[in-house]
């Protein structure tokens, strides 16, 4: 890749800045110290960066080793570029469509700008030794960074995850895009086939449909977003269909091939077999942890190719001096979880602390329109734990601000432990569910129950008024107290 160019493509200049911030072409690794580092971190994604920053703030000597570019999947091929694309797609169904070149430029600009907040310069300024190198363990107390030995007192594995290769015959022939490559598309595909209806698959299917692609979305399971409850998944399916996405549930791709310039997927849905032609194919079937090529065995770190590095609740691996955080070891693969687990891991590593990762309250969101956000327990998880739940539901169509905004798809459900007022979880489907769920996160963390929530004023009118309305429904549901 070249630096600033004179071709006139604004993206070249943006990408030069991007590279300067994430992986400068003229970078030279520091000279390793004679003494072992206090902490060596493998991977400079959200987990690695958060762990390094915390350790450096406490005066520890830290080495951060990155194979490609600082920022990890989230910045390069995950949350940031995908939300930039979604943000550039028309907000309203049938709204004016931007040129795809403008969308690309926006995405690159957004990525470069956000890279500035966690740039190479800032890492160095914090006194962290940054190595661009491939890391592998040499012993239980040392790693090799491109063959250069670095000793450590503690290490943090934060190598993340990557898109899973699907074992579909002929898939190589159709040059599948993944979350790592779709953002390099230079032109909008007229027909896009998306394989896999998890968060990313649904988000990009909808965004590309709004940008003007004809999108087929295939999902092997009977619903999109298998981790969300029926009412939310059904609403999403209808929303995708309104956007013109051809939704195909219970549909499995069994083979792929090329016919001339066309990419063809042979699929099976029930006993029906048919083919779907496309100009581009996005594979978003899952992610696998990056545990290969790390020589984890030499460090005495147990792992599993499918579930990643084995950690205890305190994020320690089978080597008590080596910890892990983020996608490489946790089930919920999100940037904010990666950062939180990294801080926990570093804290536990250096204080002998016992902060349990299972205590983290994790809000999560799928950024479709409407957005689908969740926190805490699912209904069925509560059932399995014998916790009786009552859901206080408010439909967005009954929320004044949602009506005035014309954004009244969705609902708020607060899951409340029966017999009391403790909120144990929530599902929110709404235009701004990603924001609204954070209120629930705060009230749950603060131990605020439905009774107090019903006394906390909310601006009127507001979309988050739905949360307040749920609390008011709870209050109405209680016997009136005597005056």
């Amino acid at each position: 890749m070249s630096g600033a160019s004179d071709t006139g493509d604004p993206i070249d200049a943006i990408d030069a800045e991007w590279l300067r911030r994430t992986h400068p072409t003229d970078w030279r690794n520091p000279k390793p110290p004679a003494e072992p580092y206090d902490l060596v971190i493998l991977g400079a994604g959200p987990a690695g960066l958060a762990g390094a920053e915390l350790a450096a703030r406490h005066g520890l000597r830290v080495a951060l080793i990155e194979r490609r570019g600082v920022g990890g999947n989230s910045l390069h091929a995950g949350s940031v570029p995908s939300k930039a694309i979604i943000g550039a797609a028309p907000r309203d169904r049938g709204g004016p469509r931007p040129e795809f070149s403008a969308v690309r430029t926006h995405m690159h600009r957004v990525r470069a700008r956000i890279a500035g907040y966690r740039s190479v310069d800032r890492i160095v300024a914090r006194g962290i030794d940054l190595y661009f190198a491939t890391a592998r363990f040499a012993t239980e107390q040392s790693v090799l960074a491109d063959g250069v030995p670095l000793g450590f007192k503690k290490a943090l594995i934060a190598t993340g995850a990557r898109p899973e290769d699907a074992s579909i015959p002929g898939l190589d022939a159709v040059d599948c895009l993944t979350s790592e490559t779709i953002f390099d598309l230079e032109a909008l595909p007229a027909r896009l086939a998306v394989v896999g209806g998890g968060s990313l698959g649904c988000e990009l299917a909808q965004a590309f449909a709004r940008l003007g692609s004809h999108v087929s979305l295939m999902q092997r399971q009977p619903k999109f977003l298998p981790g969300v409850e029926r009412d939310a998944a059904d609403l999403l399916t209808r929303s995708l269909e309104l956007d013109g996405v051809e939704t195909r549930l219970n549909t499995e791709v069994i083979a792929a091939h090329r016919e001339g310039g066309e990419r063809v997927l042979d699929v099976r849905s029930g006993e029906l077999k048919f083919s779907i032609g496309a100009d581009a194919v996005l594979l978003s079937t899952g992610r696998v942890p990056n545990v290969q090529d790390l020589d984890l065995g030499k460090a005495g770190v147990r792992f599993d190719a499918a579930t990643g590095v084995t950690v205890d609740d305190f994020l320690a691996t089978s080597n008590p001096n080596i910890f892990a955080a983020g996608d490489v070891c946790v089930r919920r693969q999100f940037a904010h979880v990666a950062e939180a687990t990294a801080r926990l891991a570093v804290h536990n590593a250096f204080t002998g602390g016992r902060d349990a990762s299972s205590h983290l309250l994790i809000p999560r969101c799928t950024y479709c329109r409407p957005e689908i956000a969740q926190i805490g327990l699912h209904i069925w998880e509560a059932a399995d734990r014998g916790i009786p739940i009552k859901s206080y539901t408010v439909l967005m169509q009954d929320v004044d601000r949602a009506i005035t905004d014309g954004l009244d798809e969705g609902f708020v459900k607060l899951y409340v432990r029966e017999g009391g007022d403790e909120i144990v979880g929530a599902t929110i489907v709404a235009a701004r569910a990603s924001e609204m769920i954070n209120e629930v996160s705060v009230i749950m963390s603060a131990g605020i129950g439905m009774r107090r929530l019903a006394t906390m004023l909310h601006t009127y009118p507001a979309q988050s008024g739905a949360i307040y309305q749920a609390a008011m429904a709870f209050a109405r549901d209680q016997p009136a107290e005597r005056w």
Partner: protein
């Protein structure tokens, strides 16, 4: 009015039954195959006709026997054109030959509705005079006993929704409450292939108890899901573990669901034509197709399961639905039905309700109406009116030992189950 409308619905079962096989057509439209669920409703309704004098006991018994004989003799097996497999039947059968049509699925729920009718018939025809009624009971027992519910669970804890030859079990997800309760009760009551009691716990695991529009309810969107099992099972006063924990029962739950639907009619968030607190009924059924709505801004879905308040809702109401809730709230059902008939008299021709009305879509000067009649609507209406008038269908099933066993094994206690 009630008896007239009930009789109108009953004559559908006579007018659209095949004279040789006894199978009843899914719809009144030309070339319609039989739906096995409609046959289940029909078998449950013949006794109602006898009690009202619309047919003689002999005629009803003969019609029932013809149907059961045909079902017992129709081929079962792996062959794609069989009528069924492992005692289950395909969803749609050719009216004359009884063979599978449309490459449809072997349906677990629809077989359950069929078997509910088979058992209702056996419970009613208890006489022995000329051997006809004895043969009905014998055939009913054979048909029910040969349904292999364990096979339909495909090694899992819960029932699959169906099976297709050359493919296998369908993997559509079932989550939350719906109309399938009757399938579990019949599967748990089987003397031959009974599911274990744990299957009912697994089935209720995804239930969601909600406070919705200020009503506490075990939610399911389409109204029919609150009515189908209830057409046969008298849920008044009996409780499973879930309902006991909520201090209510499935009968009261349907009353609550009706309250939600009426409140939704009042709020009418999408501003559809015709919706009121006394004009409601969103459920599965026929609706306008996108072709029929071409040129209109209305987004429509054709035949589908609609629900309230989460949707989908395209302005289509099921005209029969309010009256079908008669046992759960006489006043609301009658007031709503009268309001509907006064405002949209076209929904009821020859004393039979159409499957769907969409007043937001005007076609040639009239609100869109589903063409002809659907057998399921007629059968459900006959049974529900009768449950309200005399309770006959409920009584027949209360007297059925298999149903009683199924309820007890599912963990139901109290009320009429108390010895």
């Amino acid at each position: 009015m009630l008896e007239r409308l009930q009789c109108g619905a009953f004559t559908y079962l006579q007018d659209y039954a095949d004279p040789h096989t006894g199978l009843v057509a899914d719809t009144s439209r030309p070339g319609s195959p039989s739906s096995i669920a409609v046959v289940g409703f029909a078998l449950s309704c013949y006794p109602v006709g006898v009690e009202h004098g619309w047919s003689t006991r002999g005629e009803a018994a003969a019609q029932t026997l013809k149907t059961l004989r045909f079902l017992a003799q129709s081929p079962q097996g792996e062959a794609p054109q069989a009528a069924g497999n492992h005692g289950f039947y395909y969803h749609f059968l050719d009216m004359r030959t009884g063979r599978r049509v449309w490459d449809c699925e072997l349906s677990v729920v629809d077989t359950a509705l069929l078997m509910a009718g088979v058992l209702a018939a056996a419970s009613y025809f208890r006489g022995d005079e000329d051997g006809v009624e004895a043969e009905i009971r014998e055939l009913a027992d054979t048909l029910y006993r040969r349904v292999d519910w364990l096979w339909a669970a495909n090694g899992g804890q819960t029932l699959t929704q169906g099976w297709k030859p050359g493919f296998g079990f369908l993997k559509y997800g079932w989550e939350g409450y719906n109309e399938a309760t009757i399938a579990y009760l019949l599967a748990l009551g089987s003397p031959t292939f009974a599911l274990p009691p744990e299957s009912f716990a697994a089935w209720t695991r995804t239930y969601q108890w909600e406070n919705l529009l200020d009503t506490d309810v075990l939610y399911s969107g389409p109204l029919f899901t609150h009515l189908f099992s209830h057409a046969w099972i008298d849920y008044r006063g009996i409780q499973d573990v879930f309902m006991k924990s909520k201090r209510m029962d499935y009968f009261i739950n349907t009353q609550r669901a009706i309250r939600v639907h009426r409140e939704y009619g009042e709020r009418n968030p999408h501003g559809f034509e015709g919706y009121e607190r006394d004009l409601w009924g969103i459920t599965a059924g026929d609706g306008p197709t996108p072709q029929q709505a071409a040129g209109s801004a209305l987004r429509v879905y054709g035949y589908m399961a609609r629900g309230a308040p989460y949707g989908p809702d395209d302005g289509t109401l099921a005209p029969w639905a309010m009256l079908a809730t008669l046992p759960f709230g006489r006043d609301d059902a009658l007031r709503g039905t009268r309001r509907l008939l006064a405002r949209y008299p076209g929904v009821c021709r020859e004393d039979r309700f159409a499957s769907g009305l969409n007043a937001s879509l005007v076609v040639q000067g009239h609100p869109w109406l589903s063409e002809g009649w659907y057998g399921l609507d007629q059968g459900l209406l006959i049974m529900m009116i009768e449950n309200a008038l005399s309770g006959l269908p409920w009584r027949l099933m209360r007297d059925c030992a298999y149903v009683r066993t199924g309820l007890l094994r599912a963990g139901f206690t109290g009320g009429w189950l108390t010895p």
